[in-house]
């Protein structure tokens, strides 16, 4: 590490610090995991629409990588989808369908969770952060529905928010459980 710094001082050209390497890899890995999570579907007994773990991974990216890393991972995820990688859940109609707002909302949602959990794993900050992230995703999604389709706000909330709230509560519980080991693993290894 010290040697690298000495070399950097001597040749101040293009330098990517080891911490940045770790962050870059984290961004790529979480973009890929979010893509894969979109394809893990949990069928529900009471609804024809299954739960996907996509939004849980959005939040986990923020919790694990921090605000900048989490947001960057979601931006990379979206760019990968635009470049043709089949990364979006089949039902989400990608970035050009009526649900585009939800996907755009992933970036600020991951950043918000990352900002709120800078201090590490604390349930008192994590839970409100996850709720705020969920609200951000829904706000962006409903705005997208209203703007793109001309549907009324009430109808957008009825079809675009209400049916998924129970699933979101369970996803938050999953994120809390998973972040207990992702935060120490990733942040411990980074510092």
């Amino acid at each position: 590490m010290l040697k690298t710094r000495q070399w950097a001082d001597k040749f101040p050209l293009e330098l990517v610090s080891p911490a940045t390497v770790k962050a870059v890899v984290g961004v790529g890995v979480f973009a890929a995991v979010t893509a894969v999570a979109a394809h893990i579907r949990i069928p529900l007994p009471f609804s024809p629409v299954p739960i996907t773990l996509q939004t849980a991974l959005v939040m986990l990216a923020g919790v694990t990588l921090g605000a900048a890393g989490g947001a960057a991972s979601q931006a990379v995820y979206i760019v990968a989808g635009l470049a043709g990688l089949p990364v979006f859940a089949a039902g989400s109609s990608a970035l050009l369908g009526p649900t585009a707002g939800y996907i755009i909302g992933f970036i600020p949602a991951a950043a918000a969770v990352g900002l709120a959990t800078r201090g590490g794993f604390r349930l008192t900050t994590l839970l409100p952060a996850l709720m705020i992230a969920t609200i951000i995703i829904y706000a962006a999604g409903v705005a997208g529905l209203v703007i793109l389709t001309g549907i009324s706000l009430k109808a957008a909330v009825t079809v675009g928010v209400a049916p998924f709230l129970a699933g979101d509560a369970l996803k938050m519980a999953a994120v809390v459980a998973l972040s207990r080991f992702t935060i120490p693993f990733w942040r411990g290894a980074t510092s």
Binding site: V29, V33, P45, L82, P86, S152
Partner: protein, 267 residues
Amino acid sequence: MNSQFLFVDTDSPIHRLHPITKIIGLIVLFVPAMAFNRPEAQLVVLGLAVLLLGIAHSLVNLRRLYKFLLVLLVMSALMWALFLRDVPEDTQLLATLGPLTISDVSLRYGVAMGLRITALLIFGLVFISSTKPEDFTYGLRRMGVPVTASVALALAFRLVPTFMQTVQTVTDAQRARGLRLHGGSLLGRLRRYVHLIVPVMGYALRRADDLSRALEARGLSAPGRRTEYFRPQATWTDATVLLVVVALAATCIYLRIGGYGELLPRL
């Protein structure tokens, strides 16, 4: 899914293009798909996308993904047909579903949007089928994208198939141990999915740790000017292809301004 995922290792005219030509070409080809919202016009764009995939000798990927594309097409068409409200007042109402309705215009628009998304994905498929992740990274860097961003994107491209394979492997392993993922109460189902998610996340994080060490060991964090073994040269073919693609996009915009391929006055 193999480790190379959707890249088709063959020698086609599209494979031989410079990475920057392919990146710009992909972006510009979004224009014809976005220009029209009549189903007939979108069908022509979809035909163009499939033709390009054929030129790239990559129709195998269409066979591999046709179910996914079909679901996407139908779901997208349905969603737009159900949600679209900006339709003329004299349209014929076909069905009502709670607060949502389907009219003849919203249905046609929905079909056009389904075809559009499918065409866009196939344009993307042409790119992915003919471009290795390292070529993509090289192209991005030559276009001025920071090395950190291009490496992260290349990693995402490489890791999606690996992680999908891991999900399949873990699912098979847990099923072999008697885990039943479907059936039972909601809480029971979710609890069983923990046996799938935790090993996959554990694998992903371990893999990330290994990767960052490997990238450091290979000098990503080293100071100094970067050099490349791989330096493709742009040829006149690249210039011609770019010219044709830009002319095509300009023609589509011109046609749309003239009212061709327009079902509704919106994108």
